[in-house]
Subunit: 429 residues, 2 copies
């Protein structure tokens, strides 16, 4: 039987899952695909980790080079995460003639072009199904299943930590800080949660999805990004009162320019994404001719991510990934840089909350300014919730330009009847 010899970098959560799967299920999988999958070596700085995991010590080395440059290894699975030294390890492995399987969205978003160019130069391939959506086969769907389509939009929930926090805030009515602390205690959020809660993880994933789906090179740091750190429980409650659910969405829409953004978004409660709760991810893809689609599953964690990593390993073992990589130029050298819409150029519906003095004529003033900026109002609600002499006023607009909206809000916030910076949230449907 043909062999594929595998080197693994990192025995963290994902790495140990992949190692265990290969050791436990490798034989069954090898038989199924007709290629023997051999876990040849694991590089992990913390060698004690292997003992704890009951992985044979003979497989483990603290010296990454024994994986990266070993002549008896065909493919390197990079699961150390982060940008450095992941970038250097990947390049070294490629230059030593190894294929790469990675779950590392950060390094792909930051150095994807360099990595893919190097891979093409040395005739090896890079696969990255596990980098977005955990076990959801979204990269394969965009690249292969929808290959005949012109992708019109890709948007969804791509970060399980923030979705867990927002779900808990919604169901328990709890404050952001309290839910975050609980999520950290349960291991759903990291001790430094900034990558998740500030939206960096989502913009990295969106950059990868846009590259595969829209065929453009995207600089993830140029994507408009708002995390969930400013989400208030009132946002969630007021939105619910109007039939909406708050989610952190990664949004990509094709147009003259590309509309890419990550921000808390209100969705109608009947929208399929509104029902995606907890650590689950779901990604909606609209294409011509396929129409609307959605893929849903566990977006992170040891088990689902192992499923995606091993699917990539099998794809390489069968020789298909190499064909795909050569033929379908993902991260192509010559793909055009994305022309991104500035956030002020986008158009959507807005949810607004004003904190106003409870006095006749306030609404007229606000509506006057909205009208001046050609923003049309769909509905207005005044919840019974007095705070001193101020009350909230909730408004939902029709489609409006964000630049105009910001100018209008700037002007409204200078009115003497407005007692707090007005809050706005974007609405998708």
């Amino acid at each position: 039987m043909k062999q594929l010899r595998i080197g693994l970098l990192g025995l963290g959560t994902i790495g140990s899952g992949v190692a265990k799967m290969l050791l436990k299920e490798g034989k069954r999988l090898s038989k199924k695909i007709g290629v023997e999958l051999v876990l040849a070596r694991i590089a992990e700085i913390n060698v004690k980790r292997a003992q704890e995991l009951k992985i044979p010590a003979s497989l483990v080395t603290a010296n990454a080079d024994e994986v990266l440059t070993a002549p008896d290894i065909d493919v390197v699975i990079e699961l150390i995460g982060g940008i450095h030294p992941a970038r250097e390890f990947i390049l070294k492995a490629l230059n030593s003639g190894k294929h790469i399987v990675t779950a590392n969205k950060a390094v792909l978003a930051a150095h994807g072009k360099e990595i893919f160019t190097t891979a093409r130069k040395v005739g090896k391939c890079v696969t990255f199904e596990a980098s977005v959506g955990g076990g959801i086969p979204i990269i394969a769907a965009l690249r292969d299943g929808f290959v005949a389509n012109r992708i019109e939009s890709i948007f969804g929930i791509v970060n399980g930590t923030t979705n867990y926090i927002l779900t808990q805030m919604t169901s328990a009515g709890a404050r952001y800080e309290d839910v975050l602390a609980e999520a950290q205690r349960l291991g759903y959020a990291e001790r430094d949660p900034s990558s998740d809660v500030e939206g960096h993880d989502s913009t990295n994933k969106l950059a990868i999805l846009a590259k595969v789906g829209f065929g453009v090179n995207v600089d993830a740091t140029k994507i408009h990004r708002e995390g969930i750190v400013d989400v208030q429980i009132e946002d969630i409650n007021d939105a619910r009162g109007m039939g909406y659910t708050l989610k952190l969405l990664a949004i990509g829409k094709r147009g003259k320019k590309l509309d890419l953004r990550v921000h808390p978004t209100l969705l109608p409660q009947k929208h399929p994404l509104a029902a995606i709760n907890g650590v689950f991810n779901a990604i909606c893809v609209t294409g011509d001719p396929v129409g609307e689609t959605m893929l849903y599953g566990r977006g992170a964690g040891q088990q689902p991510t192992s499923s995606a990593v091993l699917a990539d390993v099998v794809d390489i073992a069968l020789g298909r990934a190499q064909v795909t990589f050569r033929s379908l130029d993902t991260f192509a050298d010559d793909s055009p840089p994305a022309r991104l819409l500035d956030i002020r150029e986008i158009t959507c519906r807005y949810f607004l909350r004003f904190t106003v003095i409870d006095r006749y004529g306030v609404l007229a003033k606000i509506c006057g300014i909205m009208g001046k900026y050609r923003i049309s109002i769909a509905s207005i609600v005044q919840p019974e919730r007095r705070n001193g002499n101020t009350v909230p006023m909730i408004m939902m607009t029709h489609q409006a330009n964000e630049g105009a909206m910001r100018k209008a809000l700037g002007e409204i916030d200078r009115l003497d009847v407005i007692k707090k910076k007005s809050r706005f949230l974007r609405v998708e449907s």
Copy 2:
């Protein structure tokens, strides 16, 4: 540039969509994949159809052999549907050295083994992404994306016509017969709707999903099948009152024996499948290690199905489908025949509606019989809905064995206080 020369069988709804896509988008797609896709010939008995569709007459023949045995054709796309002559055409094309792309669930369910064995014998491949779930890449997901998984269950809504009818009954409170007539008028149901409404289409698709996901040969005619023709508006309304939605589900669960069945099923309103409305399809796959997943999209129709057909064509053009077919023995000659659970062996929760005389002591009699058969009751509701001297009584059970349930119902229906055959529906969660 390498060429792939394509012959098309049938210019029906799907065939004309594929022809138009190849003629209109073929160049763009060829450039993307590096292989020129050439629509070489179309066989269609009704040659006028080509004229109506503005397809060059030079491409069209009424003689199928000019596609099936033509030396200048590499792949035959079979889109005539039905079992005969589709089976004979596919076998002839394979024996003439063509690869096959098909959307034909009926012929695969009935003659899949013969077709796949022939293909392996002649060294060609058969692809069938479009046979289940329209544009949803479910076959690829089961076969490739989840290749490392032990698939535990596959269940979902795989028939758009019946889902449209049930959705309309639910939202408009309309009767089955009226909604069916409307669906026929709108083209969502065929003039002879039996394949859809009696569940044959769903059992064929379930047989295909079970073959790919569980690796067993399934005789689709052995799958327990109940369509939607007996669904009453009271079923839907009473279920809604208890927080459930009625869907026609194709259910597959791995166990000592395989549990395969198609029947109207109650789902909790919060279940992701409960929100799948109209002609959409959605399939949930649970695997180890991936966990719960769901794929959603338009399950039928010209455009989505064309997307899946062309994905298969690309897979063959790149040479990947051939590798997949050789390596991952879908419909393998030696895959074991499925050992199916008899419907009396299954276990699930049940929704029951009794039509009883409104008299003290009735409930005690019913509960007594249920207890005798060890069926435990979760809740009882008596809606205010008198009909002469009878009233309905709604019951939800805990997990129970279907054989016991049927015996209990037989005994209950012989009570003199029961005035109509009792209704039962299975519940999944």
